[in-house]
Amino acid sequence: MIHEKRVLLKNLGKINPASIDDYEKAGGYKAIRKALDMNHLLVIDEMMNSSLRGRGGAGFSTGLKNKFTSESCLRCEQKYLICNADEGEPGTFKDRIIMENDPHLLIEGMLIAAYAIGASKAFVYLRGEYYRSIDMVTLAIKTAREKGYIGSKIFGSDFSVDIEIRLGAGSYLCGEELTLLESMEGKRGYPRIKPPFPAEKGLFGYPTLVNNVETLATIPVIIAEGSEWYSKLGIPESPGTKIFTISGDVANPGFFEVEMGTTLRDIVYGLAGGIKDGKRLKAMLLGGAAGTFVDETVLDTPMAYDSLKEKGAVLGSGAIMVLDETRSILCMTQSILEFFKHECCGKCVPCRVGTDRLVRMIKDINRGNENRFTLEEMVDEAGYIAKTSLCPLGQSPIMPLASLQRYFNDQF
């Protein structure tokens, strides 16, 4: 029997998330004290040694990202830290669980990251529709500021930092780090050309570190327990734990924190109780709309960045959407493609025209017309969009489509 391994969610249900005292009694705000006693380079070393990979979906090394931002533009008088809490990938609600149940863990992680890179100003860019998360994080910032944990010369050190909350205004695209920066500057959420990466030129042109909520919430654990302890969790290619969110046709939809490398079978059948109403499994969509479809042959693959890649799948944000035998893959595909069309910002012509064209193609296929488009043609089109668009949205439709070609070609 598989059990959850709660590292990030260790306080879940045990403390009152509105109480800073509860968090401290449970050992909170010790990691930041420990970090402030260390040289900031050592803090970054700890992140490097932990091999933590960004939990927002891209899986880039957190230590490296911190290192680049810390080393970039040493003469700059300002650096920024931004917590990306604009969680919007369909099927994903892990950040919300952290913010609603243990907001101080996120604040502590932000303080440590800000210290590591030398940022004196930090923002939480929070999804505007996450009302409860907004309340909890706002309260956490307020109480931490009252206690002097946010502000000037925190915990008796020479380090000063302020944290401010900014609310997203409803754009899926703004969850992407460069677009997020545009939005923070008050502009339309259009993607920027990269390079330069935020580590060189981010918010208002200053070096900026943008990290996901789950990533930042992991940092206090790494500092408190040590990178060696942390890197022993999970499997060597992807150490640590991960919060997976399961929705769709399972008996117990919800969230589960498990060690990296746990198999899909353990998560879907062990933790989520298997397929609802005794039906058979048809497909799973991993990583949300910008994710990949897989079938039951992937059930025994360890859930980790590289092992899934070999199967033509992605871990992404940790969303798992389960479809039983009665669901139509074609209908799902149409829903996903309509989502991309709707969220396309319109800046890059191939994406603007292409996402619309993909919707027409899938509708044509769904109607069952003679001489209808083929999946191959759609993959072709999506591949062209991916090559000629600036941001991850244009690079996304190819993901589900290519996975359909691999696993569900017979459905078209």
Partner: protein, 156 residues
């Protein structure tokens, strides 16, 4: 209580990056962004109204028209879609007599669809103002908006 735009502006330092937070406050206060309020915002931040307009029309949160008392946001995320969100939308539209993007003539209800609201475990779901209503069925929708029907009958 409704404040004037000047009152709202006093909480901000007035730089360009305040644009979205200022618009959010203005909308929270007046329920929508009027042409005049957007011109005020432009003057306050010293940016052209066209730029205010450009930002306001990009983000789905901003509305240029007044909104109903009950703001219904239907999640059109993938999990909700699988669990029957289109049927829920049909049912709500039928029940309230408005289509997506409209406000009922009595100003009671507005209906919009939004991107995944992260309540996928409760799919299909809607937000009514700030409350999540999950695990919806057409029957439950019927019950949720029963009052509306009763009130209409009273009028008749």
């Amino acid at each position: 209580m409704i404040k004037s735009t000047a009152d709202i502006f006093s909480d901000f330092k007035g730089t360009e990056d305040d644009l979205i937070p200022v618009l959010q406050k203005v909308q929270e206060n007046f329920g929508y962004l009027s042409q005049k309020s957007m011109m005020d915002v432009g003057r306050f931040l010293r940016i052209p109204t066209s730029k205010v307009w450009a930002t306001a029309t990009f983000y789905t949160q901003f509305r240029l028209k007044p909104i109903g008392e009950k703001h219904i946001m239907l999640c059109r995320g993938t999990a909700c879609h699988v669990k029957g969100a289109p049927r829920i939308l049909d049912e709500i539209e039928l029940k309230l007599g408005i289509t997506e993007g409209e406000t009922s003539s009595d100003g009671k209800y507005s209906l919009e669809s939004v991107a995944c609201i992260g309540a996928c475990g409760l799919a299909p779901c809607i937000l009514i103002n700030e409350d999540v209503k999950g695990r919806l069925t057409p029957k439950l929708v019927n019950k949720l908006f029963e009052d509306k029907e009763r009130r209409d009958q009273d009028v008749e």
